[in-house]
């Protein structure tokens, strides 16, 4: 009797101990298992694939190791260089105005407003619109013949419509406008959230000291937002490096060239072209892995740079 009770209680203690020490792992297991299989494994597999010349069009080529040959080819691949330049160009043209605008809009939304929810919902409408829909709507707006924007610009262009897809700079501007329109409101809400945590007394005493609103904005608001600014810069830079849908849909021929002369072919669009149109699995993987490394490096540089700029002020 006593023995059995002891055994029972020891099982119970063991269960209890497992419940305390072991069960937390059960709760995080679904996430880590699925993430491991569909997140980490493919990333590692990308590295492996990038050392092969695998193409589904050449049976048996999955075992054809080329070492770092794909990376060597990338170094000399002019189309890849072009795609990198396009990605950085469009990235700068979209990220910088987007975040500055978002900061301004957040500042406006931070006033005591009538119809607060109405304004907040209004600026978030573009974010609810899918990137594909955004690109297609702006395709019409940026159309050379009978596009809405060219009609508005008629007084300035003297009747010669701008071919937004033809030149590098014009196509970068067009794609950047799509990106900016889609993301600005979202970033504004993120800044707004951070602004609302700034203690009101800071503004109060600055106002008593006679600081103008502009000075308050630069000397109180912006420095207080530093962590949030770092966060949004990193997130939107990573987003810019991944740019695909807008340039993909902007070229209506869908040959994934990003314009007749690859004016707006981004790195991910080039990756898609190599992988999907040309069936170059190995080479595509090498592009992906290179872009991953670039992403990590740029995220780090961003982090250090933004931190530095704000702290020297």
């Amino acid at each position: 009797m006593t023995l059995r009770r002891q055994a029972g209680s020891s099982i119970r203690t063991r269960l209890h101990r497992f419940d305390l020490k072991g069960s937390p792992y059960l709760y995080i297991t679904p996430f880590f298992v699925l993430f491991g299989v569909f997140g980490l494994l493919p990333l590692a597999y990308t590295a492996l694939l990038s050392t092969t010349a695998w193409s589904p069009r050449r049976p048996g080529s999955e075992d054809s190791s080329v070492g770092l040959g794909n990376y060597g080819d990338l170094l000399g691949d002019e189309n890849f260089h072009n795609a990198l330049i396009n990605t950085f160009g469009i990235g700068l043209l979209s990220t910088v105005p987007q975040l500055l605008l978002a900061l301004g809009i957040a500042h406006l939304l931070n006033y005591r407003l009538r119809g607060r929810l109405f304004f907040r919902m209004g600026v978030l409408v573009p974010y609810i619109t899918s990137v594909a829909a955004v690109a297609l709507i702006f395709n019409q707006i940026f159309a050379r013949d009978f596009g809405l924007l060219n009609w508005l610009l008629q007084p300035f262009t003297g009747g010669t419509p701008i071919d937004w897809r033809a030149s590098t700079l014009a196509s970068w501007v067009a794609v950047s406008v799509m990106v900016t329109w889609h993301w600005t409101g979202y970033n504004a809400l993120i800044y707004l959230a951070a602004m609302q945590t700034i203690p009101y007394e800071l503004y109060e005493s600055a106002a008593i000291d006679g600081a103008s609103r502009w000075r308050q904005f630069w000397h109180i608001t912006v420095p207080s937002l530093r962590p949030t600014i770092i966060f949004t810069v990193i997130v939107s830079t990573i987003g810019a490096l991944q740019l695909f849908a807008e340039p993909f849909l902007f070229d209506t021929t869908r040959n994934n060239n990003g314009g007749s002369e690859r004016q707006f072919q981004t790195v991910v669009l080039y990756l898609y072209q190599q992988f999907w149109s040309n069936g170059q699995y190995g080479y595509g993987a090498a592009i992906a892995w290179t872009l991953f490394l670039i992403t990590v490096v740029i995220a780090l540089i961003n982090f250090l740079l933004v931190r530095r700029i704000r702290s020297t002020e």
Binding site: L113, I128, I137
Partner: protein, 289 residues
């Protein structure tokens, strides 16, 4: 006496002064609002006109009478019946799974003590920054060749059943929403961890889980890249369907933008009904991040 009273009073006067919006702020916000909404309005204008009206200057700036004709033409051409059903299944299934796995893991990271908790949570945060596009080649090989899910909704759904952002979001939410004393009281009463999760944490988690669900649903309703690779034109999601309508040298913008109207309006209705929660969710994720 008069001096000490007048100082806080004038400060209060300034308080209203510093924060209240005046007309320039309203004017600027009005302009921003117009720019935010105009492209969608424009999509309705174009999709309510026939092609010849769109290909003319000056362009029509108000909706015409062919909206219904263009919507139904686009609906049939773009396979939107299948597409809407597919998008609902895909976004719905992913949402349920993400919310479930994220509340579980978020609860463990927020409220349970275990070895390696901080390191593992750092891994979660780091993975938020890894763009999924980069693993596209092996993911395609895995899903189509290992699992045999080419042109199969399972291939779209299964790789995205969990979300690092979701875990992060629920962890932040539950850390502040669930009082530690409540769990300690439960523990003292001999409740198992799962009972506490089920009876205490889940009811409290509901508002946060709803917001996460909304954001997840919108995100996967709008996703293009992966479904585009996996699904063919016979079996598209709405985003793949609208991407398919718009290729070619001569683009019929009336039909293309009618497609975008079909793809966008379900989300806009959700947004009109639940905008407050969606905005709250985005701002919450931002502050606590």
């Amino acid at each position: 006496m008069t001096v000490t009273e007048s100082i806080p009073q004038s400060a209060r006067g300034r308080k209203a002064d510093v924060h209240r919006a005046r007309w320039p702020a309203y004017a600027a916000l009005g302009a921003i609002l117009l720019l935010s909404v105009f492209p969608l309005y424009w999509s309705i204008v174009v999709s309510s006109r026939d092609q010849s009206a769109v290909g003319r200057y000056p362009p029509p700036l108000v909706p015409g009478g062919s909206l219904w004709d263009n919507l139904s033409a686009a609906y049939q051409q773009g396979n939107f019946g299948v597409a809407l059903a597919n998008s609902t299944i895909v976004a719905g299934t992913i949402t349920v799974s993400v919310v479930f796995t994220s509340t579980l893991a978020g609860f463990a990271f927020a409220k349970l003590r275990f070895r390696g908790r901080n390191a593992l949570f750092t891994v979660v945060v780091a993975t938020m920054l890894v763009p999924p596009q980069l693993a596209i080649v092996p993911l395609y090989i895995m899903v189509t060749q290992w699992f045999g899910w080419a042109n199969d909704l399972r291939g779209v759904i299964v790789p995205t059943l969990v979300s690092a952002f979701g875990v992060f979001f629920m962890r932040q939410y539950l850390t502040s929403a669930v009082p530690g004393e409540l769990l300690e009281a439960g523990r003292a009463d001999g409740a198992s961890t799962f009972r506490m999760y089920w009876n205490i944490v889940l009811p409290i988690a509901r508002p946060g889980a709803a917001v996460l669900g909304l954001l997840t649903f919108i995100m996967y309703w709008n996703d293009l890249f992966w479904p585009l690779i996996l699904l063919n034109t016979q079996n598209p999601t709405v985003q793949v369907a609208i991407a398919n309508t718009s290729s070619g040298i001569e683009v019929d913008y009336s039909l293309v933008l009618a497609g975008t109207v079909i793809a966008t309006f379900p989300m806009l209705i959700v947004f009109l009904l639940l905008g407050r929660q969606i905005i709250g969710g985005i701002m919450q994720g931002a502050v606590k991040g």
